[in-house]
Symmetry: D2
Subunit: 361 residues, 4 copies
């Protein structure tokens, strides 16, 4: 009888564990990404979240950008397999940006100069959207969910009102579509955090010394206009200006290579020197103290299809502007030592037990 | 015996009627509308389809435009109740256009002159999007379906590949969202038919003598750019230029008033003199011979947010243009007598038995 | 003594003849033209003024447009020699439009479709601006004045304040430059009359069925913006909409061919069937009763460099607009019989005695 | 006797020095300015040239910008009187920019946020263009020349082909008008040097942390497009990015205050702490070694009238661009010590003998 009671108690504890204060405080996050693979800034940011015990990744919603969405799905599924986190749902989202197109971008380049990087449209890397080449890191065995990324976003913010952080490391097409399909997404989300935009920086953008033409925002400017004009509770932006203060150096790679996890091996084999665009945006959610200087600004994007198409526009907080301008907290400096330490720890440590394994069974 | 055979034959005919070539040829149509009510050009076009034995209305997908989408749903449900066609699914779609907004339109008007009509944003008619005033024609007892208009469109074109006519009488927000959520909508649809745009006409638009600023297209220009740049099998356009050649006169109203159906009474009470914008677009599906002059043109829309925002742009077929321009068949003249006759007949006759009642039981 | 008085009187009369009521009423006009030759609509309008006893042509100021300005000068000088009006000063003006360029227009065409006519930039007719080919009508012996067209315009409106009609049959570059060099040109001129713009018409423009892209205005849109935003006492516009109601037919040519003047012979040899764009604008100055319908509208031009670049924009008079919109009287219909009669008479009759010959000597 | 000969020789050398090879190499310069007074960055740059023995200032051509052109003329004449250089011609130029206007700028600000400085249009400083308030430094006794600035520019480059440096410290309206009136200005000038534009800098512009909206270029964007698209032999740009590395400090003022010239007293009384925008551009002509880092870039301006209107656009030299983009040498860093020393020396020393006094008499 006592044994039975003990078993009952254990069962009850397990049963209610997800509701315990500790776990209830884990941040619920949807990671919306244009997840180039293997081992890009996109993928590393996904893996940081997957490796962190401090967030519950509700799902990874993919969007074309750095690559086409189907190829991204393969890389993401494979990376999660390697990290032992196939419990995290992966969902396919928008294949094309709202209005921008490969063809329009080529006409634009003839007028204003060739872009240095165009993601899935980059000529030297181009293949049709349905093609998924063999993956150097091995093809995945797992599959994406059947649900569309846009519907998943809507369902999650409705399931967990005021709890979900929408974290966007790619073009904002999925989030724009979700807003326009269900306008309440905006009021139901807890916060929007994104890597995108550029202010006054002479590198890190796709138009070379013009840092205001940042890839994520340029790929789908109209989506940015939709998303950035919506009345979110809070918007946090990691712009190019802070990205270029970081670098995934050989030293960082070497520190992670000391670990013998499959993930660390994947990192060692495929990661390469690069600004750590999305990793900063991820780190700032996991440990906000990493950011040492940020500023509230009105931020949006130029959507006229001339010289300025896809460039960040911004105004100081004290300036009177129409209500479609929204204030965002823009990160401008960080504690790189703290940031690199967090990154190395997350990429080196064993995967956390998935939520289901710990609480839901 | 002979009589029995005759009865058997009749029974067999009835039994297999739904499968007969005649019914199999009934056009499957999704009616996408910004259905102002009661008894507007929007609603009359819906009722023409509902009254016609020649089409199978898969559903009516609503979109904000002439009114907010929730108010439109009430009017549409009520009109279908009156017409005895509550079997037709009604589905709510986009509440807001993609990028355009009431606020932006007001800033635009301060620069380029007040617009004569702005649909749900018209100052003298304005109320918030969630408000549904009491309906003069009586509030509906039926409800819209739970499915979102965008998902319904996607599901139907996938259920009936190459069979579904997407017929759009309002802003193109729903169809644009459907395309961007599922790019295959374009190749799976049979045809796109729409009322919208304006060419060289000095009335019928919302900017008065400038007929190129047509309401449907102006309300969501970016949606038009998305939809009109997609590779549909066929695009048919009913522009303002042909609309203004028609008028819902007292004579037409009197002819319909001779009928004693609930629908005819509704028409008599609420319909008013107006160009018959959407009724032409509906009639041309039901009887293409009504159109007496049409022209293939490249047609799209100006989406720069200056003087031209929302204006139709167009080029002749023989001109070399980039591939984002698509050819559309644009209607420029009609046989008004034939058109009015069809309209009077449809609005006067009893409702056809719903599809389910005739074939599916 | 009496004889002396008589002589004195005669001398005084001769002295003050230019100020006599009759002559004082002759309208002083500067004809600003992109004078293609021989015998184009441009040249015919110049010749109508040169042939008319009702106007005093202060000078012909040339501007690149239909041809380069230097080639136009040769044709104009020759035409005036043939008409016996080499007393009229011919002055060279702007060689290039303010901002628009051949190169930009070619990039535009790649996006929005080839233009049917581009004046001096038309590929099949192109030669560099300094080249003046041999003239089929014979090369001129006279020369243009040394003064620049812009300075001549400024000097004349200052010499004859409130008397000078600025009549523009070509791009508005010269007038825009004059305004910006001397802002008082606007208040000192009596009236601005111009051929340009298009409203709702499916022919007569350079973009084929899009009549709003009219050549004169398209060639230098920024000049139009400058000129049309200035506070002239009066602006009168002859748009494409009225031009296409006329035609220089074989009958008209035959009627003129009955005359045996050098001018009539020139007309017979070189004039060809065409809308009579500029001839209407000239006729309406000479006999305003030719115009049977005109409307006051706010008229300006789209100067964003996208789809709408160079298109006429307009708003009705009753609409509230910012003060940069100015009201213009736009001609929409005419008495073609009266117009053709005037044209035939002017082109058939002998040249009027030059002003100098009648009054100033 | 020998001593006397020596003195004679010295006197003769002094006498004929203006004709010596050394002086023949004095750079001929036209200083085109929006010369706010008293003692602004505009005026200081004029005075640097006026004080320098190394340049021959052919004339100062004024243009509205920081103030209206008539008020600027009064300040400039007065400053030259104080400096003892009334021999330098002062010429009035454009009163208004080509297309931009106070009214348009106010509509723009309502959309994109109030500008911090608008020159003659700044609300707190505004008066009509014809008003010239009493000057705190005393009203001038001298007068501007009768010739228009535009004509002076044309005449000078024709008088001294390939010798004249067009130096522009204000909006480019005058130079744009000169080019369009006489296209040969471009090939006849020796070089274009200008203060204007901004790249990646978070101060120094008129839209606060957006340094790409620099006052001179913003005031007349279309003029910049015209001037920057022309095939000059050489274009040198002093952008905001380098301006903000300097400051007219109290120390510099104190150093100049040690001098007892009228000019030094004027400086002491009226100069105030400020970035030294135009002084750098002047210094770099007088002593190019002051600039320590410069880069060749394609530079132009956004002239669509939306969010980007008046912003600098630029592309690296190695990027393929259409021929309307021209390469400019853009200054990015300087030797501030050397710069301040030059400035202090020029503002402290006695005026050089005018050219006429030294050489032409």
């Amino acid at each position: 009888m006592k044994a039975f009671r003990g078993q009952m108690l254990a069962a009850l504890i397990l049963l209610f564990l997800p509701l315990s204060p500790v776990l209830a405080q884990r941040k619920k996050i949807i990671v919306d990404q244009d997840a180039r693979g293997p081992a890009s800034t996109d993928m590393q940011s996904i893996l940081m979240f997957a490796q962190s015990p401090d967030v519950e990744v509700l799902g990874i919603t993919l969007v074309s950008g750095d690559q086409w969405v189907k190829e991204e799905a393969a890389h993401t599924l494979r990376a999660l397999e390697i990290a032992g986190r196939s419990d995290i749902p992966v969902l396919l989202g928008a294949e094309y940006p709202l209005v921008n197109s490969k063809e329009e971008s080529e006409a634009w380049e003839r007028q204003y100069g060739e872009l240095a990087f165009k993601g899935a449209w980059t000529p030297r890397l181009y293949h049709p959207p349905d093609v998924v080449p063999e993956l150097p890191e091995g093809n995945p065995k797992t599959k994406p969910r059947d649900e569309h990324a846009v519907d998943f976003i809507i369902r999650m913010v409705r399931t967990y009102p005021n709890e979900v952080i929408l974290w966007a490391g790619g073009p904002l097409t999925n989030i724009a579509l979700a807003i326009r399909k269900d306008p309440q997404v905006v009021s139901l989300a807890r916060e929007l955090v994104l890597m995108g935009s550029g202010f006054n920086v002479d590198k890190g953008g796709i138009h070379r010394i013009n840092g205001r033409r940042e890839f994520n925002w340029w790929f789908d400017p109209e989506a940015v206009r939709i998303v950035m004009s919506a009345p979110w509770k809070k918007i946090t932006i990691t712009p190019v200006d802070i990205s270029v203060k970081t670098f995934l150096s050989d030293e960082i790679k070497a520190a992670i290579a000391k670990s013998d996890t499959p993930l660390a091996r994947y990192h060692t084999q495929f990661a390469h020197g690069s600004y750590m665009w999305d990793e900063i945006a991820a780190a700032a959610v996991l440990d906000p103290s990493i950011i040492t200087r940020q500023q509230e600004l009105y931020v949006n994007i130029d959507i006229d299809h001339g010289a300025g198409y896809g460039q960040t526009i911004f105004v100081e907080k004290q300036v009177k502007v129409p209500s479609w301008w929204k204030l965002a907290t823009v990160q401008f400096d960080l504690d790189t030592r703290k940031f690199y330490d967090l990154y190395i720890r997350l990429m080196s440590q064993p995967a956390p037990r998935p939520v289901e394994a710990r609480g839901r069974n």
